[in-house]
Symmetry: C2
Subunit: 253 residues, 2 copies
């Protein structure tokens, strides 16, 4: 079984894209299951096969520990680690090609707390990759685009698994916005020009850093995807395949 | 009036450090006020002079919009922008030296959504600086330390104001942990050695990026601080002074 973690800031469209991706896989004759790792989510567009909320729920934590939503989210994220073994056992019962993992709404609860590492280790890191969902609203401005690339690089560094970035909810972008983002992602010169146009000399700091991001491959041609249209799902699949074994296809057709 | 924004991941000790810093300023004969910008906080150790919860509260948003804690936090963060003008007017009534700004618990709600920019613009960016609180639990491991530096750089790039990093809750660290972090922050060689020791070759990617962080000054000797002890508060003050005017002291004594 291969694990694909979908990670992104709140509102970047993780759950919708996972659902669309699962549907797409099914159409290709590939079986998959979905794990929900967000203990605070209320509405998800799919029926998770394994759900962390069977063990930990943010609203229960709020009540039991007398905490507000902030504190309860942290406690719930940390409590997930306690249930990592049980969670892994539930997942292992499935015989499937792909396990799609929906991570907590707030990216820091997954990216910068220890329970995510514990869960990833328990599920098995060898066969895992991570899809970072870039938020289209952040990527619309040149400085926001760089922030997104830097955040992606930070998350990348945190987890030692194959990693790639998808521009999520691409349907929300106007054609000229999509073109601009695409241009920034392919031409450093275009991005530098856009940055200098808009922000003060402090941007120069960022440009240097950004050149480093480019040199290590965190900066790549953008891959747009949309759960709404849907679009970009095959691109995601191709990248996943590439990550796992240089492109060998598991598909049955 | 000078604005000092305290930014960090949930649990990094923003509120406690702000309170300790305010007390320290008072002892130096410097007046300050505190703005709470976290619409979801339940308990804060201080009495805020201006409080975003007078306009927006996460629990109200949960009820009114029928949202769970995840969704309500995002909506509340975005709604803050609507009240930016009123908030600024409330703050302007004070005649004070420093305005200490406590930001939302989850860093992404402040760092990667637009309302924070709108509020910062409304309050005035010319006289603002940003203190990034590094989480001691994250910084304990070499790869976590690099993640923290990268996250700081990402936030730095997002806001065009003077910026510095403080190692928060330093009292939680054992002496040998503190020494290790201190060494990593001063000697790239020590950090590279520690990284290669612990994680696989993928770390090399991070090291290259990290060298860039060093070259742009995002990587600096660590400044520990503790609200508990208290310690490091004068160091924070010195950095703030440096940021605002190259060290000229406002203090009355």
């Amino acid at each position: 079984m291969r694990y694909i973690y979908f990670v992104g800031t709140a509102g970047s469209g993780k759950s919708s894209l996972i659902y669309a991706f699962k549907e797409w896989l099914t159409l290709q004759g590939l079986d998959s299951v979905i794990i929900n790792l967000d203990p605070g989510v209320e509405n998800i567009p799919y029926e998770p096969d394994v759900d962390i909320r069977d063990w930990v729920r943010v609203d229960d934590v709020m009540e039991e520990y007398g905490l507000g939503p902030n504190g309860a989210q942290i406690v719930a994220a940390d409590l997930m680690a306690v249930n990592a073994k049980d969670l892994a056992e539930s997942v292992e019962k499935f015989r499937t090609n792909y396990v799609l993992v929906d991570t907590p709404g707030q990216i820091e609860l997954f990216a910068f707390r220890q329970s995510s590492e514990i869960i990833m280790d328990e599920l098995g890191k060898e066969d895992a990759c991570l899809v970072f969902l870039a938020d289209p609203n952040l990527c619309k401005s040149p400085s926001g685009f760089v922030s997104s690339v830097m955040l992606a690089a930070t998350v990348h560094f945190r987890f030692s698994v194959p990693f790639f970035t998808v521009l999520s909810k691409a349907d929300l972008l106007k054609e000229e916005e999509m073109e601009a983002i695409s241009e920034w992602s392919e031409s450093p010169d275009a991005l530098y020009a856009a940055l200098n146009d808009k922000i003060d000399t402090r941007a120069l700091l960022g440009i240097e850093l950004f050149k480093a991001l480019e040199s290590i491959g965190a900066y790549k041609k953008v891959v747009p995807a949309s759960a709404m249209e849907p679009s970009g799902l095959e691109d995601i699949y191709d990248m996943v395949q590439q990550a796992f074994e240089g492109g060998e296809d598991l598909s049955t057709d």
